[in-house]
């Protein structure tokens, strides 16, 4: 009772509500039951979007069937960038407020984000060869996305590189925040510089230059990719929390036996 009053009192202060939800036990209780549902919906949406895009959407007037790679390439690119924005966000919370859950999230976002960035790079290369005539060119958009991939890899390595995990979390959070400067560079690279990569088809200010029969499967596939990303990250976080608990129990049992 006393404790509840104290918690409620602290809740009014800035950031206190975040402390309330940034508790590994509470996270596990809220998220774990939702995981199977989230996984089922994300697989269904991704399959629907891709099958629609590849089998039913019309071919493009200019690029023909090769343009269908966009139903994988574009969602992967968006998720890769949003994933890094999330990584930078949790790193910010980790540095300023030292949330244990933020460190845990940073550790688990890295590999998933790197995976999506890899899908984006490979699908882009497979698209570039038939259309541009080259798998890879060093233009500003492609290079900045490659830098994003290396930032993810560096973060994955750095956060696990220290004997004391707290040191790893601190160093990796700084890397993630510094690397966030790359995100606006990726987004605006096609406007600031001449690139071989096309300009934006869909922009918030300029609307979309894509026909609805191609836009719908693209949006559904995007939704599927985003949900898959979140589900994978949450599943990894739950597994990491359980792993930590198991280790604590094993250590306690060993101490009792000794």
């Amino acid at each position: 009772m006393n404790e509840n009053v104290m918690t409620a009192g602290r809740m009014s202060k800035t950031g206190a509500w975040l402390h309330y939800f940034a508790n590994p036990g509470r996270f596990l209780r809220f998220v774990r039951p939702a995981l199977p549902w989230a996984a089922a919906v994300s697989i269904a949406l991704t399959v629907l979007g891709i099958v629609w895009g590849y089998a039913f959407a019309p071919a493009d007037w200019e690029q023909g069937d090769a343009a269908r790679i966009m139903y994988v390439h574009v969602p992967a690119a968006w998720v890769a960038m949003s994933g890094y924005a999330m990584l930078a966000g949790v790193s910010f919370f980790s540095i300023v407020w030292r949330h244990p859950l933020a460190d845990l999230a940073a550790e688990e976002i890295g590999p998933v984000g790197a995976g999506f960035t890899f899908v984006c790079l490979v699908s882009g290369a497979l698209w570039g060869k038939p259309m541009w005539g080259a798998y890879w060119v060093w233009d500003a958009r492609l290079t900045s996305v490659l830098v994003l991939f290396f930032l993810y890899l560096g973060h994955i390595a750095l956060i696990r590189a220290f004997d004391n995990p707290a040191h790893g979390h601190r160093a990796a959070a700084i890397l993630a925040l510094v690397g966030a400067i790359n995100l606006p560079i990726i987004v605006f690279s096609v406007q600031w510089w001449n690139t071989l990569h096309q300009g934006n088809t869909i922009s918030i200010s300029g609307g979309a230059r894509i026909y609805v029969t191609m836009l719908y499967p693209l949006l559904i596939s995007t939704l599927g990719f985003y949900l898959s990303f979140l589900t994978l990250v949450c599943a990894r976080m739950c597994a990491a929390i359980m792993e930590r608990r198991t280790r604590t129990l094993l250590v306690a049992a060993a101490e009792r036996a000794a």
Binding site: D60, M131, V137, N194, A208, R209, I210, M214
Partner: protein, 168 residues
């Protein structure tokens, strides 16, 4: 929020601000090197020495593409334009499927002695407008858009926009 948290917050914000300024300034300083290609107008202004390799980008000028077969390889000559200047290009070899008049391309090579750009490689740049063939044709027939003159207007305007000129 007080004490060390507030200090850390301000520290992170200050470092972020300095870092953004530093990166922004260096990008502005290197902007010409970060550009993947130069337009004909920029090339005309700079007069690159013959033999100096660079990338030339622009639109294949309508009505300038000529292909002759020389000893089994097609040799194509055309002009690349940005609407303000144009440069003659020669290329021997197979062109990408998307190469056609009015198409954006990037050619890698150097100026030869005769004032022509001798390309070692030609890459096709595709547009950022996606639509089925029949929609493209009806937009073109209605005079609402010609692919040779830039990207299509936003899809939301396709039904409501005014017809500009007579198109074809």
């Amino acid at each position: 929020m007080r004490g060390p948290k507030k200090r850390r917050l301000y520290l992170v914000l200050a470092v972020g601000l300095c870092l953004s300024a530093a990166v922004g300034l260096s990008l502005a300083a290197f902007s010409s090197t970060l550009t993947f290609f130069f337009s004909p107008r920029e090339v005309m202004a700079k007069h690159p020495a013959p033999g100096m390799s660079f990338r030339l980008g622009g639109i294949v000028q309508v009505g300038t593409v000529k292909t002759v077969i020389d000893a089994g390889t097609p040799v194509t000559s055309f002009r690349v334009t940005d609407g303000q200047a144009s440069i003659p290009v020669v290329y021997s070899g197979l062109l990408p499927d998307l190469f056609r008049e009015g198409q954006g391309i990037v050619a890698i090579g150097a100026m030869n002695g005769g004032g022509q750009f001798a390309a070692d490689e030609v890459l096709a740049k595709h547009g950022s407008s996606y639509m089925p063939k029949d929609v493209e044709e009806s937009l073109k027939n209605a005079g609402k858009w010609n692919p040779a003159y830039g990207p299509a207007p936003a899809a939301s305007e396709w039904n409501t926009m005014q017809v500009k000129g007579s198109g074809s």
